[in-house]
Subunit: 318 residues, 2 copies
Amino acid sequence: MGKYVFGIDVGGTSVKFGLFEVDGSNGNLIEKWSIPTRTEDSGSHILPDIADSIKNKISEKSYGLDEIIGAGIGLPGPVDDKGIIRKAVNLYWKEDFNVEERLSGLLDGMKVKATNDANAAALGEAWAGSAKNAMNVLMITLGTGVGGGIVINGKVYAGTTGAAGEVGHIMIERDFEEKCNCGNAGCLEQFASATGMVRVGRRMLSETADPSPLRERRDRLTAKDIWDAAKDGDSMGLKIAGEIGRYLGEGLAIIATVLNPEVIVIGGGVSAAGKIVLESVEKHFKKHIFHASAGTKIVLASLGNDGGIYGTAKLLID
Amino acid sequence: MGKYVFGIDVGGTSVKFGLFEVDGSNGNLIEKWSIPTRTEDSGSHILPDIADSIKNKISEKSYGLDEIIGAGIGLPGPVDDKGIIRKAVNLYWKEDFNVEERLSGLLDGMKVKATNDANAAALGEAWAGSAKNAMNVLMITLGTGVGGGIVINGKVYAGTTGAAGEVGHIMIERDFEEKCNCGNAGCLEQFASATGMVRVGRRMLSETADPSPLRERRDRLTAKDIWDAAKDGDSMGLKIAGEIGRYLGEGLAIIATVLNPEVIVIGGGVSAAGKIVLESVEKHFKKHIFHASAGTKIVLASLGNDGGIYGTAKLLID
């Protein structure tokens, strides 16, 4: 019976590792490190590099193989229940394949579980973060894009093709004409990702002449500028934050009416703006949530960039 | 080891029963019957009446108690994972209580499992109906209201407070002012229930003067009139069906982008209009569904009013 688990979070520029000591259904992060993601040669070095790093760590620690429960890996792309990854364009992988089997083969048969990176972060928050002890959790990540993951009965729900929780691509603005990266139009991501927030901000700045420090930054506006202005009490900043919060609050109310989660976790880079994000969302969420799901709590993620290594480690711990 | 299961579907006017002979994970419906739902005296007769009916059937069939696996019961109200029903207003039940424990007590300790009626219908279709063999299913029922149920990994997903799948109450029309029965405004139910379809029809008839047989029925218009006119090729009927299909297609695309189901089953009284309902929905669904969930199949329910007894029986069969 082993007692150590590896959590691996694969991003487009680096791979983060966590080594956890397992105690029942708990786990303590005892070490973390990272390596570059080598995307050259169609990403063919990525899994061998990961396997080498894990083998080196096992050797460095002088662990016996019987002490290792296994490794969980989170990937930027849809991963189904069988461990098959599809369309991992950020890793330059050209084919769909079973990543659990392949990495396990590189690790002398070590048990490997794979999931999507957003699902991993959701599971991490449900296990050890701000949704700790909640069985049904929706996580939404606000960053370059808007991603999401779903935990049901304490486990990742990956969906039929690994695409469950793609909350950035629900239609939220019917007659919007500009295309989303996904090919549709009017997606939540177009208003609630970092670039989406800037889109909302620029539109609102162009609709009025109200003075605002944001106006002089209009051409190089960032999501952080908007939230900083709102926190400073700038009226234009508050209006834009309110409009972004309306999109997010409406979207989350729709999703929570379907999923009836216990907790919604808001994460991703933009969530660093803090509780003003929650405040902007809540009024609109309450307006549209079905009464039987009105008890859904909305919280900020607490594990930050470590959510993925926690969640992937948890895949091996019951 | 028993071999019979009862499925019980409790409605506001009648309680339907099914007796199933179990064979592995299959079940054959060998008899069905119904009794009136006595809602007087705060619905206090309902569960005792159900228990009497089941005991009579067991006695009539001369089954031994060891031949009975148990009974599943579907109820019009949210039921959580523990079997607690809340706010069953159609049954005039004033308190929240554990219906599994109470009915089991009336049946000398027989194993009882309870769920919401829409979840039961979803599970029935996933087990023995038009979503047979699908692990992840969303069912939407179009009737007096719009309900829904979710099956994940072959089991009902009830949600945190038993309210998962309340797809009739997702916000679909942002600036709609008329209130929904739920207290919010702009809910899918306001456009896709039988009365919602009539609302859409009346609005569209008032917006044009196009000739249509629907026009003379305007004050007593029904959902069936609309679908019949569309099937007859009446241009106004087709336009209204298209508009209803737009609301439904958009709503289902949003939900399927979150849930990534294998199959969406459309049921309820209005689905009797047949494949024209599917045709009206599909174009709009395809427009808004996220590409990774575009393989979601949309089908009509095939068990009709028997979905509930199949699904509740399935609660006892693994």
